[in-house]
Amino acid sequence: MSNKGRVLVAMSGGIDSTMAAVMLHEEGYEVIGITMKTWDYASSGGSKKETGCCSLDSINDAREVAVHYGFPHYILDIRSEFGDAIIDDFVSEYLAGRTPNPCVLCNTHIKWTALLKRAENLKCNFIATGHYANIRQENGRYVISKGKDQHKDQSYVLWGISQENLKKTIFPLGKYVKDEVRKMAYEYGFKELAKKSESYEICFIPENDYRGFLKNRVEGLEEKVAGGDFVLSDGTTVGKHKGYPFYTIGQRKGLEIAMGNPMYVTKIVPENNTVVIGPKEELQEHNMIVKGLNLIKYQSIESELEVLTKIRYHDPGTMSTITQKGDNIQVKFPKPVNAIAPGQSAVFYEGDDIIGGGIIQANN
């Protein structure tokens, strides 16, 4: 074993995780690559072919790099864990009128657990991924902070990882900007990889069509939920919708309802299959409750704390005051924020450091 230790690197076959593996190999770690097979695209229905993170091509790309550098590469079949935990949750969250974030759930409950389990079997000291984020030890805690590349920062999806799991985690790309990584891949001779377009879709949702996925997954869903009411906040019915699971908070496009001015989905009420719509102002909220708290930087939040809160992946964040109440966090925004969607993650930042995060429960 090398003096830096043995590291199990999650390799999706994309440029980031590939370069993470190459960098660690170059830094003198003994690298073992692993590609997690999470999903069969054929099961999604209606998809043309396997693309992005789950495809056979991607697995082969990862293997090719491993062969080139002479390190072992394994394929890990976690379809059943992934299906049970992530996909079932994804479907049930939409049926509960919420907007889930499967990447967060996958990191928290599947990816790290699966990786660490195999890491232990393979006698690895560390696990590594190609996330653009940093990790450091401070005051006995493992603190995740934003990656150097603010445009590619992925710290938002990492809030759920426990201290125990962070202890063994390395993010080799945190100190690089994406352009550097791409140029390095090119210089290493991985020219096709350097040009590979990024996949932003959820790997089990072909072409980002979550509605199609839900219809395919839940038999008779369309018939069950079609014809519910679009109502205004005062309860006035203004039209019929296609079914509440097919709408998300803040949605404007595709409502197919003419009100003379732009209308947005402001609330989803699954109990009576109602979708509340209203002007943009009605999307604005000053408070929210966050549950399922996982604290990263501090063990607990003793008093009110001023933090930057992100309520979705590409949200630049809004200054807020948070108060911990057991496993929950009460968040107050001095200035209103738009479209707080229950089910999404709220992540709290102090500078570049993640204080913690949780799932948005209610927006009032």
Partner: protein, 190 residues
């Protein structure tokens, strides 16, 4: 450059052929007699337009002469980290140049990395860090000199296209014939 000219000529020829075809389709016998002359004219006009489009807009700043012997220098992206490098460099000695190696990556394959050789007896190395957002970034670099003003002008023209916001950083290393001691270097990023 030869290839470029060949493409321009091909394009012009094809274009004139098309023109010729169109004219012959009109079945006007009086014009047909003028075709050879017209063919040459159309070719020349197209070639001039294309040349102007390619080179006409790149103006040499007034009072300056382009330094033709200036050339780009590429440092390994794998081995040389530029995040902690200074924003601007003017390097005239090899010893200063070698100090850049403090930014060398701690990679196995970089242990034997050496910087590209530069003849500092005759050349100066300059650099300017640029940071832009975009998908496809093209950078055009030229160095000019104005003997009256005793000034070098390094113009870095950044052309970015696309909707994405990837952060693209370049050091824009360039060598030029040894800079005169009493000259000033002005850098413009456009």
């Amino acid at each position: 450059m030869e290839e470029l000219f060949r493409q321009i000529i091909n394009f012009s020829c094809n274009f004139s052929s098309l023109e010729q075809y169109t004219i012959s389709n009109t079945k006007l016998p009086t014009i047909t007699g003028l075709l050879p002359f017209r063919h040459i004219t159309v070719t020349l006009v197209c070639a001039v337009i294309i040349m102007l489009a390619l080179f006409g807009c790149r103006k040499v700043p007034k009072g300056f002469d382009k330094i033709k012997d200036a050339s780009e220098v590429t440092l390994s992206v794998i081995c040389m980290r530029y995040d902690n490098m200074d924003n601007t460099y003017i390097i005239n000695e090899d010893s200063t140049y070698q100090k850049l190696l403090v930014h060398k990556n701690d990679f196995t394959s970089c242990s034997t990395y050496v910087l590209p050789e530069i003849d500092f007896a005759n050349y100066t190395l300059i650099a300017k860090k640029t940071s832009v957002e975009g998908c496809n970034v093209k950078i055009d670099k030229n160095v000019y000199v104005n003997s009256d003003k005793k000034e070098y002008l390094y113009i870095i023209e950044v052309d970015e296209t696309g909707d994405c916001t990837d952060l693209i950083i370049n050091m824009n290393w360039m060598t030029l014939p040894k800079m005169e001691d009493d000259y000033e270097l002005v850098i413009e990023v456009k």
